[in-house]
Subunit: 218 residues, 2 copies
């Protein structure tokens, strides 16, 4: 990439996919141009925060002015490195693994399910998104052959560490972990924990806060 | 609550459940006391950030000193308003709804599934965590009767807005939305979007970042 890119702060990074999704929806609806104020109002966030977020890649530099939706979508996809399809594997074909495999947005956003694995013989052979569940022992061969770098762990907490080690040995460099357990991985591996309870607790906390005071947070 | 409570920043709020989970694990392992340094090392986060987070409720005020694990757990649960069981309902009994219903941590963390609803006759009657899927039309009656305040939406994007309106009319005041769509709800309702694609995109972005430079982020 020729453009010098600032390191994007964590909070901004979390919001970029939401902007991308909204802009793609506008694009699908045939909207050609949009202002930061309009986009912020639709997403119900502060418009100066939105402009600050877009500042990292030169979008919405002037308040009030409209920008081409297709250009913003393109820049966001470029920033998020979503130019070429990204392959990923899932370990753990239980409810959550099935839900991830079936989540429609991943495909639309350029992520391709390369394989789904489990140890349970009852699950092996079942198909999700046209991909059959295979024995976890076959994960390294597939990951190596296709050069997959991204692995999702939706196993039990007890199995997660062993699976993470198997993935790392196979060449996986980024792990999205849904098992509520702290994993040990080498420094060079990017680990992202998705702790669903945290989401539910945060919402519950905000609801109490809403009852306590007049100020409302989203 | 008699203790004057600061407003907890968003980023801290996201980390509290992770601390709680780790401390509960220590408790289950029979560990009586812990220092901020040890806990931070186990979670691989900066220990001064951890102390800053705990500062909101008076834990870990002195670096190096150990604190009673059971006391920290109790304070965290108090802050997160997890004293009494919290009931919730799920609308949408597809893969994701089933995964949420079956996620083991919610039960352990004090959240109780009061009902799960769908419009698909094939799903109605199936049982998850001992709770049978019911027709979505029966949601208002159950929510009203049990005084449920928390609703999870795992329907299709197309159905989500209608379901949100049904929930709000029934008395739900907090919505955890997994459908990748912007919902319109009254100001008094707390809305939390869980956009799974955002997690995958953030991980993918960080992996590229790891390849670009020597600095590594988690």
């Amino acid at each position: 990439m020729s453009i010098q890119q600032d390191k994007i702060p964590e909070a901004t990074l979390q919001r970029l996919p939401v902007y991308l999704y909204r802009l793609q929806t506008l694009q699908a609806d045939g909207v050609g141009r949009v202002s930061s104020r309009t986009l912020a109002a639709q997403l119900r966030i502060n418009s100066s925060r939105l402009r600050q977020d877009f500042h990292h890649f030169g979008g919405f530099s002037r308040p009030g002015q409209t920008y081409e939706v297709s250009h913003l979508v393109e820049r966001l996809r470029e920033i998020l490195a979503l130019g070429a399809p990204v392959h990923y594997v899932i370990a753990g074909a239980g409810y959550l693994g099935q839900a991830i495999a079936a989540y429609p947005r991943f495909g639309e956003d350029g992520f391709r399910l390369a394989g789904i694995f489990d140890i349970n013989p009852k699950l092996i052979g079942l198909r999700f998104r046209g991909v059959a569940v295979q024995d976890i022992e076959l994960l390294p061969e597939l990951v190596g052959r296709l050069g997959v770098k991204l692995g999702v762990i939706t196993t039990s907490p007890e199995a997660a560490q062993g699976v993470a080690e198997l993935m790392v040995r196979a060449g996986i460099t980024g792990i999205w972990n849904f098992a509520p357990v702290g994993l040990q991985v080498p420094e060079a591996v990017t680990l992202q924990d998705e702790f669903l309870s945290a989401g539910l607790m945060a919402l519950h906390y905000r609801m109490q806060e809403g009852e306590r005071g007049p100020e409302h947070r989203r």
